[in-house]
Symmetry: C2
Subunit: 329 residues, 2 copies
């Protein structure tokens, strides 16, 4: 064990203060030290230090329902006032019962129906405003704080640590790209152009001398499972060297990062073991984030399993809430 | 006119040495100075300084045929040896006659057919190797140098100048993303993740313990005309403040950048007026890059028209050829 990687850029504070000493933290620091040490046979040039992170269940919780589902539910309830006929729709009925599984089965058909009802046709700018408004007003039912203040403190520290070591950090999530890009830079320091997510086509129009884009649910790309390496190739255009996920939806991304990669690589899985501070789940059938196959493959693949209860001294954000975008005028 | 913007970071060498003094250079420098001056009412925070560049005809020539078409032609001729039946295909016949217009008409149907014949099913890694091999061996018929040594010196200087002013430079091109990403970082300093281009779906597979992606021509996205703002939204996720193109295929991108943008913005068009040093064309019917509507709109929109013959003292790269990738081990 070396001292070097436990110091941050200034050479004073220990890196990853909210990570307990143990095999997960040691594995992370050892890998980063090995690939960033000039002259090391495992050295990776900075431009190839691509690190990809799942979002729901990896950078913030995905319970009691994924946060974007909560956003859509709130939009749906607002819309029902003007559109009582929506109540007849089976997808709307599943949504109102919080039956997320029914919404995502059959290729996310139910979820797409809800998204179509609540968002299709609106401009991307209007959508951004709605997301911003919701983030400022909605509260997580258990933690009683804004959803974007529920991010994991240890992961925020890891993102910053990697960036200080010249890694470029990306989100690769099944969540909507348009939804995440509104707050990803302010909250995680990850700019919109480093967010890969599910998305529908938009259409371009010049209207009254202004260029606008309208959202649609045509040509939906679902950035989950095998869609993750596909999205990584399409959006990033090179193979990551570090991938961090928490569910079987991240298995293909972990494989793409670590199997046959000519560069030294690291795969990590966050295991939700902490029912006291967060939510304990993996194979539980009603959970949206299922972790069975990837966990079984981890030992053979050499993927590091991060045990939330054991490895994290803090779970949620414990520093001042990032209320203002660094890029706001 | 102020002195400040004509100095580079070191404060010594003049910026944009291959640009002649005149309205185009002055307009560029004035805009950059105005939006980067702290305290200026037009100040744009660094994270929002997104600059997008067309590639064919903007960063390098697109004559006598677009360079990627030359690559595909070379692949086609190689393939014909093993597949004499290809010669019966109307798309192949158009290609062998260099009838680029016939290939791109009808939604690029002929071109896609050729791409499908020559590349579908191969792995992305094998494709990268082919592109690298071609770049090292093929020569431009007129300039008698590698295609990637035919890039425009003044544009290379502009890319560097903008990056020194904390702009993030992106390619937004109708060319293939997989084709451009092989050399964009080495040649332009633009990394793969900042290249938006046309692309087909890839498929993911773990084969013999290695993760691979296969190319296909399914679900093609054509990053041209209205596809450019759509691609910008999908890949970059925010509106650029500077756009540089050279044809009507860039008109929608210029509109998206400049019409109704809450930030001060700049649109630029390269006008190919220099038949001696390069190629003179705009409305010529056989040209792949047609510049009619965007040129007509330029005065009203305030887009800066760069006249190659008047505004550039040098055209092609006049510094050591970027043979080695900065990220090569």
């Amino acid at each position: 064990m070396t001292d070097a990687p436990s110091k941050d850029q200034a050479g004073v504070s220990p890196a990853l203060p909210s990570w307990n000493e143990g095999p997960a933290k040691a594995g992370l620091l050892e890998y980063v030290a090995r690939v960033t040490e000039p002259g090391s046979p495992d050295f990776i040039p900075p431009s190839e230090r691509i690190a990809v992170f799942d979002n729901d269940g990896t950078l913030w919780p995905e319970n009691p329902i994924p946060f974007q589902a909560a956003f859509i539910m709130d939009r749906l309830k607002e819309g029902l006032g003007d559109h009582p006929e929506w109540a007849e729709d089976p997808a709307v009925q599943s949504a109102l019962k919080l039956d997320v599984r029914a919404l995502v089965d059959d290729g996310h058909r139910g979820l797409l129906r809800i998204v179509s009802l609540t968002h299709a046709g609106m401009t991307t700018d209007a959508f951004t405003e709605r997301v911003n408004h919701w983030m400022h007003t909605a509260r997580h039912p258990r933690y009683e704080r804004p959803y974007d203040a529920c991010i994991y403190q240890p992961m925020l520290e890891l993102l910053r640590y990697l960036r200080a070591q010249d890694f470029k950090t990306f989100i690769v999530s099944g969540g909507g790209a348009d939804f995440m890009r509104v707050w990803s830079e302010r909250v995680y320091g990850i700019p919109p152009e480093q967010v890969v997510g599910s998305h529908g086509q938009v259409t371009f129009e010049v209207r009254d001398g202004e260029a606008v884009l309208h959202k649609s649910t045509d040509g939906i790309f679902v950035d989950d499972k095998e869609g993750k390496p596909v999205g990584i190739h399409q959006f990033i255009g090179r193979r990551p060297v570090l991938a961090f996920g928490n569910s079987d939806g991240d298995k293909a991304m972990l494989e793409y990062t670590t199997l046959g990669n000519p560069r030294p690589s690291l795969g990590l899985i966050l295991h939700h073991t902490d029912g006291e501070r967060e939510y304990a789940y993996d194979a539980e059938p009603r959970s949206t984030g299922k972790l069975v196959e990837a966990l079984a493959d981890a030992p053979e693949r050499g993927w590091v399993v991060v045990d939330m209860a054991r490895d994290w001294s803090t779970v949620l954000l414990n520093e001042p809430f990032p209320a203002e975008s660094p890029s706001s005028p």
